[in-house]
Amino acid sequence: MQIQPLIDGKSELTHAAEPPQEVVISTRVRLARNIQGHPFPGWAKTAQRRDVLTACEQAIASLAQMQKSAVLEIENLSDLEKQVLVERHLISRELSAHGVGAGVVVSPDQAVAIMINEEDHLRIQVLRSGYHFKDVWDCIDAIDSSLEQKLDFAFSEDIGYLTACPTNVGTGLRASVMMHLPGLVLAGQMEKVVRAVNQLGMVVRGLFGEGSDASGSLFQISNQQTLGESEADILRRLGSVIETIKEQEINARLRLVENDPSKLADKIGRAYGILQHGHVLSSSEAMNFLSLIRLAVDLGLLPVEQRAQVDRLILECQPGHIQFAARENIDTEGRDIARARLMREETGQMPPLNFDKLAFS
């Protein structure tokens, strides 16, 4: 397995230097870049795609920030390996569907992933655990500036960086924040939030972007527009939306604790019981239960150190990861059994829930 060393290593998502935060799980910024004089990947012929792949791989390999990175070509990866990379947000579903001439370069800590020949020639992505627009922007800006010394990016003084889809033209920047919003979901307020966020020119999507569901109450909030505003303005506007949603989430949680603590305690208790003792668990069930355990940590029912473990399990309970850990392809039923075993082992070690922390009426 080509990606084994990467998965075995300590990654930003599974072993971040600082403890995970309450509501914001991770921050991600990506830049879309293309090379002048070459057709976009979706319109290019195979030989043209290969040329771009080789040139980009060489340019990326020479960057100081990308030393010791894994250089992976999609056509050499198994379906399972691709699935694991998608689950880690290191490649998109679109890239995994591309065969010839597509690749990705991933830094050892998986904080930087540069996709080649996805929708654009380059999709540079920087990811960090927690809520850190400034750090992430500084990091991606430096990588972009270094690459610009080596590659002739397609750029217009009028409309900025030229991209395959006109929706990305300008800065080519998409910033997104992964938020855990169980309070708003339980209070039935997510639809209202999605509408309000859309009105501000931002988008709310599920865990895996467009068209994906929101298992585990995980949502990505990102900017939609890329032209007519500077990177700093885009990040500032998105940041203020994130702050507002965070406030709404905390308020929703407080109301749940105040209005119906028994119901909330029951939901959390049942989730914990099934994770510790269940024998068959689908991935969306596991995600939803883990989401309630993360909420329990936030509410003080479990020690704060458990949050990192919950976040790791949210990643590891996904179908690709379950099979990768088992070193084989397993059918859905087998996966549900393997997943339940993993949950029993991991959550079985956690301390009991301290319900005294919830204010019972």
């Binding site: 976009f40 319109w43 002739d152 217009s156 003084e157 900025g160 006109p166």
Partner: protein, 171 residues
């Protein structure tokens, strides 16, 4: 319920109702679907009814005629309707009349306000200067203005000598 009016020209049921103001008098005309076409009734202030009714069908057909095809990659607006993506970076210029209205609808502005890669911009300007000098040189030769042509050829040589490789690498 009142009986729907009949067509002003035949006895079929009227489905199109036209109100015209002619010499400060309001004239109301009722037509069946066929009569406006046959009688050549049009809205004097603008489009004909026939145009209005067929506008939906004809709107996608003349895309290439109106906007052209990208000479760099052969991409056309029709391909965009199918793929939702463009062919190459040059499409933004060659299919500008097709793309610009879209950008205005999609984004907060139509002018780039973000990062400007300085080295890249100076390369773009340099390439543009070379192209313009080449064109001026060709024009000078065509008009047999050899003194000017010699001057332009020297300028072009000087520009090309400072030019970097236009390919991938600038390392």
């Amino acid at each position: 319920m009142a009986k729907p009016p009949d067509c002003s020209h035949c006895q079929k049921q009227a489905t199109i109702h036209l109100t015209q103001i002619v010499n400060n008098e309001i004239k109301k005309l009722d037509f069946c679907e066929d009569c406006p076409h046959q009688k050549g009734v049009t809205d004097p202030a603008g489009f004909s009814l026939a145009d209005l009714l067929s506008a939906g069908e004809g709107s996608t057909a003349p895309l290439e005629r109106d906007h052209g095809v990208c000479p760099s990659c052969g991409f056309s607006p029709k391909n965009f309707k199918k793929l939702g993506r463009l062919g190459c970076p040059d499409c933004y210029e060659s299919l500008g009349s097709f793309i610009e209205p879209m950008l205005a609808k999609m984004h907060r502005g139509t002018q780039h306000a973000g990062k400007v890669p300085d080295a890249l911009v100076s390369r773009i300007r340099h390439a543009r200067e070379i192209k313009e000098t080449e064109e001026a040189l060709e024009a000078a030769i065509a008009s047999e203005n050899y003194e000017e042509a010699a001057k332009l050829r020297d300028e072009l040589k000087a520009l090309q000598s400072t030019s970097e490789s236009a390919n991938f690498s600038h390392g």
